[in-house]
């Protein structure tokens, strides 16, 4: 009896406590319907050769959520001219400029601040910490960027430029225009009275 109790006490004291880390997948005691015969988002699937169950976008096809207005989508008017201002449709979609700018500020903070910095002067955390001096982005506060048409700023976000990656896969169309609006506001804020 005593031996059994000691063994039980020992076994309990040897067993791990809650919250210990493990690289082994969690044990699921109740398994009913835990794994159902369907693919979750990003789950591997056996049908396609790349092993993805979720399919990447097929070129030359139009997805339902894609922007159909080419000017809004590309920032280009016709084939080669950038639009000068944010398309009115986009502003209406935000129900006015203040909402667009607020959204732009929010999105700028997520996608742009890491490199361009909160002021748009190129003093972001990433160029600084990565130690690669050459990737410091140019400031927004010079005449070259100030004179850029809105469509060109938009197209830069959409397609990337030099070291800057394209953001069309993770920033939706209207958010990109909102960021353009906020960049303009940033530039105005740094114009010291001129």
């Amino acid at each position: 009896m005593r031996r059994a109790l000691t063994a039980a006490a020992l076994a309990l004291s040897l067993a791990a406590c809650q919250g210990q880390t493990s690289t082994e997948p969690p044990i699921v005691p109740v398994r009913q319907m835990h794994e159902q015969p369907r693919y979750d988002a990003q789950e591997p699937g056996g049908y396609f050769p790349d092993g993805r169950a979720m399919r990447p976008h097929v070129e030359h096809t139009v997805a339902r959520e894609m922007e159909v207005d080419l000017t809004i989508d590309t920032g280009l008017e016709g084939q080669a001219r950038y639009v000068d201002t944010i398309p009115p449709d986009v502003i209406d979609g935000f129900r006015g400029m203040p909402a667009l700018l607020a959204r732009g500020e929010d999105r700028y903070g997520i996608y742009c601040v890491p490199c361009h910095g909160a002021l748009g002067d190129g003093a972001g955390m990433v160029p600084e910490v990565s130690g690669v001096g050459t990737i410091r982005p140019p400031t927004f506060h010079d005449d070259r960027v100030r004179r850029m048409p809105d469509g060109q700023v938009y197209a830069t976000i959409r397609n990337g430029l030099r070291n800057m990656p394209a953001y069309r896969h993770n920033v939706p169309v209207r958010d990109r225009w909102a960021i353009v609006g906020y960049v303009r506001a940033l530039q105005l804020s740094q114009m010291d009275g001129r």
């Binding site: 309990l12 044990i27 369907r38 790349d50 929010d106 394209a166 993770n170 939706p172």
Partner: protein, 215 residues
């Protein structure tokens, strides 16, 4: 006629004691060890790429949504595509050995086989976008990811744990602009933020019925 001799009179007492002690131990073992707090919390699989959230989200201060860009629009936060990694790493640390699988994936078009860490059962339909717009922050369920070298499950993600918050959401709400802020606390809320939280609470309708999360 007596079946049991008097010397066995101790048996009922010992049996009762045994049932009480044994039952107590069994209850403890089930409650403590069969619970998600023991089975789920602390799961940190070794990923194919030694990606550090502590560096990217903590030190560099990159917002969660830079990579988990769908989190406000869909059920799933999703692991970012290789394209997001290569956006920066086509320029930064281009010869790092740790990044070799990412570059390989970029060249071949095959996905990096990340291992999913936070995974609720298939009969649970958790929607990230709804929680973010209701003012529930990342840190509430995922813990201090900005301090994690390797992502580890911080909370039990069990039904009881979900319901704790669904029944009393107030202490877990934050302004929508702070959902990805890992260091924000309710004590440091400004007046405007307090007003926003009150508004969020007033319109919060966290379901407590089965079909809220199970379909």
């Amino acid at each position: 006629m007596q079946i049991f001799p008097k010397s066995l009179n101790f048996l009922p007492l010992v049996t009762a004691l045994g049932v009480a002690v044994g039952g107590g131990i069994a209850t403890f073992v089930v409650v403590y060890y069969f619970s998600p707090r023991f089975l789920y919390v602390g799961y940190e699989p070794e990923q194919p790429v030694a990606y550090s959230h502590r560096l990217h989200a903590g030190q560099l201060g990159i917002d969660c949504r830079y990579c988990h860009a769908n989190v406000e629009r869909s059920f799933e936060a999703m692991v970012p595509p290789t394209q997001t990694c290569m956006g920066c790493h086509a320029v930064v640390r281009t010869d790092s050995a740790r990044l070799a699988p990412v570059r390989e994936s970029w060249e071949s078009g095959m996905p990096v086989s990340w291992i999913r860490v936070h995974n609720v059962p298939d009969h649970v339909f958790f929607d990230h976008s709804v929680h973010l717009s209701a003012g529930v922050g990342c840190v509430t369920c995922h813990g201090r990811v900005d301090r994690m070298e390797v992502v580890s499950i911080a909370e039990p993600l069990s039904m009881g744990w979900c319901l704790d918050c669904h029944r009393d959401p107030e202490p877990h709400l934050r302004p929508v602009s702070r959902v990805t802020d890992m260091t924000w606390t309710r004590e440091q809320a400004t007046d405007a933020e307090r007003a926003e939280m009150a508004a969020l609470l007033a319109r919060a309708t966290p379901p407590e019925n089965c079909s809220g999360c199970h379909r």
